[in-house]
């Protein structure tokens, strides 16, 4: 028994040694890089922006922003931008600018400038995926304009740490207006047969309140679809916002989905979609109805291959709850409820169809319809020969959305508004 205990103790000792206790650095010797921005630079070079956590003692404490990077005295972070042919060189240059060793193992997000994304990310992905300092769970975001400018202007008001900002924001994507993407997902889209890469889309809002919808709303829809940067808002909040999805064909970005199209992708990928939507009142179109919704079941996608042309049948089941009926019409029971359910179904079916038309036109399959086609191939060698982009563009996709209103909020029926025979009383 003593021998066994001795072996166990020895193994435990080696375990500790092998887990990284050798060559360790003290926390105070390390600078933690939290965000890396990537932009295209002149002469085929790349511009890397490093956002580094500033320790409270060094930064004068407190949360809030470090806008302006090095200039931001007392800020929570330091920003440094380098231009070099490869990311490895920028890491060495970064070390030349600071006393501490820059640790990139705790990077939480990669921000990619749109120009760099449109030029192609394949070369960079090779570095990120092979390097042990990076991990597949690191978030990936494409931004309008340059990543450098975006990082400098992103100044979260509710978080003290920019890492927490990205991780919390992209963990709570219930609206479906944006999707969390990480290095692993993106790389999978690049290499796997049957799905295309995509990334969350973010931008800095000018905060002018200007209303610039990405597309006209659907007939059943009360609101409008937006792309990040165009949401009509004013105020003193963080100008950064997430809405939409950057689409890629191969390693190059080819387009952007708006918020409604992105939610359609979220629904079909079953990415925990739940939230609220404004519906045009079917019986009184000048009024809107507020609805809470969620996916009632994982969407079913059936695939078949007819003479080399894919046919997909998509069934989506939405569960809804009535949150407000300004018209006062009783939609909780009977035929009216069916009418409202059909209105919701048509809205989501319209969004999904619009997203499908858009993505088929771009030749990018963010939902991964091609994955459902894989069992149709006789073997893996035949599958590898297939052109999934062409197949997706040629595919016929039939969408069927069913909605059930399960709950009606805290009211179970609606009483009509009190009518006035006389003219409305004068207002102030």
């Amino acid at each position: 028994m003593i021998v066994r205990l001795l072996i166990t103790a020895l193994l435990l000792g080696v375990m500790l040694l092998c887990s990284g206790c050798y060559g360790a650095r003290e926390t105070e010797d390390i600078a933690y890089v939290l965000v890396i921005g990537i932009d295209k630079a002149a002469d085929g070079q790349q511009k890397f922006t490093y956002q580094i956590a500033r320790p409270r003692g060094a930064g004068g404490g407190g949360g809030g922003g470090g806008e302006g990077g090095e200039k931001g005295e007392g800020g929570a972070w330091v920003i440094n931008t380098f231009t070099a042919p490869t990311p490895s060189e920028t890491r060495m240059l970064l070390k030349s600018t600071m006393s501490r060793f820059p640790n990139i193992g705790h990077v939480c997000a990669f921000i990619i400038g749109e120009d760099a994304a449109r030029e192609g990310l394949g070369d960079l992905m090779s570095y990120f995926m092979r390097n042990r300092d990076f991990r597949g769970t690191m978030i990936m975001v494409v931004t309008e304009g340059t990543a450098e400018e975006y990082i400098k202007r992103n100044n979260p008001k509710l978080e003290t740490s920019v890492a927490k900002y990205y991780e919390t924001l992209l963990a709570n994507m219930e609206s479906g207006y944006y999707l969390r993407t990480d290095l692993h997902d993106f790389y999978l889209g690049l290499k796997a047969e049957g799905v295309s890469p995509y990334a969350a889309y973010s931008a800095t809002n000018p905060m002018s309140g200007a209303d610039r919808p990405a597309a006209p709303p659907a007939p059943e829809e009360a609101g409008k679809p937006y792309i990040a940067g165009d949401v009509p808002r004013t105020g003193e909040g963080d100008p950064t916002e997430f809405a939409g999805l950057a689409l890629f064909r191969g390693d190059r970005m080819v387009g952007i989905l708006d918020s409604d199209e992105t939610r359609a992708v979220s629904i079909l990928r079953s990415k925990g979609v739940r939230g609220y939507v404004g519906i045009v009142d079917p019986l009184k179109p000048e009024k809107n109805i507020n609805i809470a919704f969620r996916l009632g079941a994982k969407p079913k996608i059936k695939a078949a291959l007819y003479d080399g042309t894919p046919l997909y049948k998509v069934s989506v089941f939405i569960e809804a709850e009535i949150m407000g009926i300004p018209s006062g019409i009783n939609y909780e029971l009977g035929e009216n409820r069916v009418l409202l359910e059909n209105q919701i179904s048509q809205l989501f079916a319209g969004h999904i169809s619009r997203m499908l038309r858009h993505t088929q036109m771009l030749g990018s399959d963010p939902v991964g319809f091609g994955l459902h086609l894989r069992p149709q191939f006789p073997d893996y060698n035949a599958l590898k020969q297939a052109d999934f982009t062409a197949l997706y563009q040629a595919a016929e996709i039939q969408v069927n959305v069913t909605t059930k209103i399960r709950r009606t909020g805290l009211d179970w029926q609606t009483s009509p508004w009190q009518t006035h025979n006389a003219e409305d009383p004068p207002h102030d």
């Binding site: 092998c18 050798y22 991964g368």
Partner: protein, 363 residues
């Protein structure tokens, strides 16, 4: 002979085989298989397990010809010199396995956990641990493996469960991979992985009876094959075949994908512990097997004095290949060719010899 390993029961036998056959799950064997078998590569452990179970009965039949072990049975059936030749082959096979595993585990430790450590130091570290385990003896080693086995199984299954949000089982399609015939043949060639399951046949006199031996193989190898299969299914479902073939350390990559929340992530450090233990035990078992057969081959009275020189030789040999890529290529090429002579061809030759003898006796 002072090196007889004492008495072992079902638990020890099972643990010994489990520890000696699980290591490939941590190495590059599976990504290599994906090149040939595509998304059905995960079936290779099951096919090779079935192959060994089919071979198990001929082996047990062969063992009837000797009151001793496989070495004794071989001598009775084939004579002295062929037996010596076969024993020498197995010595080289177990040594080759020890050398290649030592180098791979040392390199993997440098890649994943201790990048600042000198390569030679990693080899020496693993070598020292293997030496300590060898000195303790195979019986204690088996018992230690048995104690650790539940922890290892739980740890591996926990990682598979925690990474489940990443699985898309459509990546396992087309279900027949590159074709059932191709995959089937590949699975049979992968039988070299079962080398560790032959060890109890060389140590047969230490087991209570033939039934114990049989059950140890069935359960020990079965459990190992089941875990390897589960790991490869999950790995393929998480990475797809195209990425699966790229990775050097599939299970480590899977562990790195675990992300439950901001606070539950980066758990691969735990996994490195698991693989270090398995690596050390497996290397020790391989060196013990080689030394044991060497002692039988040359009728040496003791095994212990050879341990230190042998570990040093294994360490030196492990340092010879210039880069990890060469080691991986040598290991995989040997596993799918040279190893099969020991796990498939020789057992079948012995079985044929046993049948021939019976036929002659009957005539």
């Amino acid at each position: 002979m002072s090196y007889q390993p004492g008495h072992m029961g079902l638990a020890e036998g099972m643990a010994l085989i489990f520890a000696a056959t699980l290591a490939p799950v941590f190495l590059t064997t599976f990504p290599f298989s994906v090149d040939t078998a595509g998304p059905l590569a995960w079936s290779a452990p099951i096919i090779s397990y079935l192959e060994f179970i089919i071979l198990l009965y001929p082996l047990l039949y062969v063992m009837r010809h000797s009151a001793q072990d496989l070495y004794g049975a071989c001598r009775e059936l084939l004579g002295e010199w062929p037996t010596r030749l076969i024993a020498f082959y197995y010595v080289t096979l177990y040594l080759l396995d020890a050398v290649l595993l030592l180098r791979q585990f040392a390199e993997n430790t440098l890649i994943t956990a201790l990048p600042a450590l000198e390569f030679e130091a990693a080899i020496i570290l693993y070598g020292i641990m293997a030496l300590i385990l060898l000195y303790i003896g195979i019986e204690s080693l088996a018992q230690t493996s048995y104690i650790l086995m539940p922890l290892l199984i739980i740890g591996l299954l926990l990682i598979l469960a925690l990474a489940s949000s990443r699985y898309n089982f459509l990546f396992l399609t087309p279900w027949n991979g590159t074709g059932l015939v191709t995959v089937g043949f590949w699975g049979v060639r992968a039988g070299g992985i079962n080398l560790g399951a032959l060890l109890p046949f060389f140590l047969a006199t230490s087991f209570q009876n033939r039934r114990t031996l049989k059950n140890a193989v069935v359960y020990g190898l079965g459990l190992s094959a089941l875990l390897r299969t589960a790991a490869f299914v999950c790995y393929t479902a998480a990475f797809g075949a195209s990425i699966s073939r790229e990775k050097l350390l599939p299970f480590y990559e899977l562990a790195r994908l675990v992300y439950l929340s901001r606070f539950v992530q980066r758990i691969e450090a735990f996994f490195i512990i698991v693989w270090s233990i398995m690596g050390m035990i497996n290397i020790a078992i391989d060196i013990f097997a080689a030394l044991y057969l060497l002692c039988r081959l040359f009728n040496l009275p003791a095994l212990r004095p050879l341990m230190l020189p042998m570990v040093m030789i294994v360490g030196e040999l492990a340092m010879l290949p210039p880069a990890v890529t060469e080691v991986v290529v040598i290991y995989i090429t040997a596993l799918f060719s040279y190893y099969n002579i020991g796990t498939l061809v020789i057992p079948l030759i012995l079985f044929c010899a046993a049948l021939l003898r019976k036929w002659r006796e009957a005539a």
